[in-house]
Amino acid sequence: MERSGSKHEHGMMLCRTGAAALALMLLGLWVTARLAHAPAAGEFVSATRLMPWQNIGGCGAGGSGGLGGGNIKWIGRGVSGGILDIQAIAGVEISQTRRNYAFMHRFALKPTSSSSLALSVPVLSKTAQFQPQANLPSRTEVTGGIGDLLLDFSQTFGSIGQYSFLATLMFPTGQYDIKRGEETGRQYLSNILQLGGGVYAASIGLSYSRDFDKGILVADLLTTHPFVINFSGENSYNDETAGGWGYATDLMSDEEKRRFEYYFKPYGENDLGGYTAPSLYGAVYYGDKRNSRYVHSYGVTFNIPLQVNWIPNYSASVYDPIPDPDFWTWSGTLQYGVEFSNVEHPLYLVVAKQIHDRATPPGQDRRYSVEAVNTWNGPDWRDFAATWSFAVGIRTSAF
């Protein structure tokens, strides 16, 4: 599909303006940080003071698929006192055709009293039904390993530290080209079985928290933009000598050639043709802190991709991506959690329900049509009833 030159120029102009605004924002951040109020000892420390444990962007950014669509958040008193904060959360997601285990480890440093820099390391184990074609039998496949690493930064500001600037960077360390099958007929597994998305993703956003007598309200808003870096300049899957596709790039348009020869792409198209769209994420949580020993929390999140995601062809023999037939135009999470508060080792239990719209898989003759899958529908109540996420987490502080 060709895009008019004027539209492209318009888009590039807006993006450049956005980059300038981002620079201005960072300058403001630096100035404000110098004047920000640091929380006093004994104040209720919401999880937003520290970058909350979450997989920013959920399914949209990379698809490494944390629990509950990647949108589970720890709301509580947390821990304080040390230089290094350590969180470990283990959880399981159960659905009609899949079962995922996730072990999320987060290590956070506090460069200043009002900022946090953290690294999250997910270890995943996935089991799901895989059926590449409707007329082939379904089979169960298992994958496991490290998912996409997440680096996040937060800076608290405001007279009482009620605001936080959030920034994250996700690295494509999770495998996204897992194949199965016989040697002459290898097939790529579907996205729900892959451990990563094969793209980087940068997110920025704001968090706002407000303390009440009996509780705390937290609201987050983030935007995520995937991109890709190739240090070799070549799409390794196209290397014919290594058994790759062998497409002749000298006959392609510049845009097509960029699928196979590039160093940087400002959009989230991985080397198999899978495309992760930019997305918008929002969340609201309420924590009930009336009891000094517990914090009950209730949360609602939403995630909206700003474009249709594409997925690679299941066959390893061709480069033939299509719009994701199981694309969700919107998704979210309903979460209930309880923190057993402890100054040194709090414990967190959470149950979450993922809710999303009903996908509209197109017919074979429309499988390349973005419009065919980009339909806003009501909730998929069947999947909502069948999908459950449970997690338990602990935190501690060191040094």
Binding site: G18, L29, G158, Y163, L206, Q307, S315, Y319
Partner: protein, 376 residues
């Protein structure tokens, strides 16, 4: 006050940058689209030379072959050859059709618009496909367990794919082999979509295709034989009662209605157990793939052709849709590691050869070529 000012400025900048980033995303400079692989120029012999060799000046020709390196099927339509700057015919374009897995033995439909082939996933798993010949159509699965598919058309013009569910029959095991069969599946000639259920047409696996009237099936890999569907008789070829059969490969049944119990095949080394009484001479002891033979159901050789000089052996012969022309590979070098093969068009009547490939473009040892000549 300064802090409040900076805070407001900061919030405004954050909100503004988010809005602008969102607007960037909304305008979405990049939109993924369907990928259509470019056609590749292949320096084959010219269309005019083919026309001169075949002697049909107004006809169209297509060549299909597989390529091991990228596990693909390429189709060359010689009608698409462009005229070069000097007025000479430029090299034709080959377009690569989509497939899943390493394809084998592509064959053209009678009108040249569809192609059928199988994918050999393992020694025991083969899947038969059919699809429209272009860069964007998807393969249609004919059978999850289906090997060596061939097209067949009945007298009413309905199109079928004939295949079996056993790739390789052990030598001398065919008569006693049960549990496998040969099937016929009707398909839509425009899209390749399956129509109705498959029909079992023989209770043994036969991999060389169905004759024009539907009476004979032929097979090889390893047992060579004809099967007469009319009376259920099995006619074994390259075989004698005392010592059993000899292995044959690439069975290809005649496309001609007047000679429908003829079969083209590739023999193994040794003295063949064939009847050469209709030939001027018998080749005697032959080396591996030294000859191509056409035999009838009485085991009588009706045609034979040694490989061209300068080559070490034949490979992958296949009858075209025209009874008078066949296609086969000829190995360039004698050592096994050199997989270069030239593709030859063979004229049955006088054993004439036309080299389709060139020094700049050769095929590999598993290319399994097929050649199509338009009926009019």
């Amino acid at each position: 006050m300064a802090a409040s000012f900076c805070k407001n400025l900061f919030l405004a900048a954050v909100a503004g940058s988010m809005a602008l980033l969102l607007s960037c995303d909304m305008n979405l400079p990049y939109r993924p689209t369907q990928f259509i692989p470019p056609r590749v120029t292949v320096p084959l012999t010219s269309r005019d030379m083919i026309r001169d060799f075949i002697g049909l000046s107004h006809h169209r020709f297509k060549l299909a072959f597989t390529k091991k390196a990228d596990q693909s099927i390429y189709v060359v339509d010689f009608s698409s050859m462009e005229i070069g700057r000097g007025g000479e015919a430029a090299a034709p374009k080959a377009y690569r059709i989509k497939n899943s897995g390493m394809p084998d033995s592509p064959l053209f439909s009678p009108d040249g618009s569809l192609i059928t082939y199988f994918v050999r996933s393992s020694a025991t798993t083969q899947r038969a496909y059919v699809q429209v010949i272009d860069e964007t159509s998807d393969p249609v699965l004919v059978a999850d367990q289906g090997t060596d598919p061939h097209f067949w058309q009945d007298s009413a013009g309905n199109l079928f794919v004939v295949y079996s569910d056993k790739f390789q029959v052990p030598l001398n095991a065919l008569p006693g082999l049960s549990g496998y069969a040969t099937y016929r599946q009707r398909i839509d000639p425009a899209t390749g979509a399956l129509i109705g259920n498959r029909e079992t047409i023989a209770d043994r696996p036969y991999n060389g295709g169905l004759s024009r009237s539907g009476r004979y099936l032929c097979t090889g890999y390893s047992d060579g034989a004809f099967y007469d569907r009319e009376n259920g008789l099995l006619h074994r070829i390259n075989y004698d009662q005392a010592s059993g059969g000899m292995q044959i490969c690439n069975p290809s049944i005649s496309p001609d209605s007047a000679h429908e119990d003829w079969m083209l095949f590739l023999p193994f080394a040794g003295t063949q157990k064939l009847d050469f009484s209709a030939m001027a001479s018998s080749p005697g002891m032959i080396t591996m793939h030294e000859y191509l033979f056409v035999v009838d159901r009485e085991n009588t050789v009706r045609w034979q052709r040694p490989h061209p000089s300068g080559y070490s052996q034949w490979q992958d012969p296949e009858w075209s849709n025209d009874f008078n022309f066949m296609v086969a590979l000829a190995k360039v070098a004698s050592n096994e590691s050199d997989t270069r093969h030239d593709c030859f068009l063979i004229r049955r009547l006088d054993q004439g050869l036309l080299r389709l490939t060139t020094d700049d473009f050769r095929l590999d040892d598993s290319a399994t070529p097929a050649f199509w000549i338009s009926p009019d």
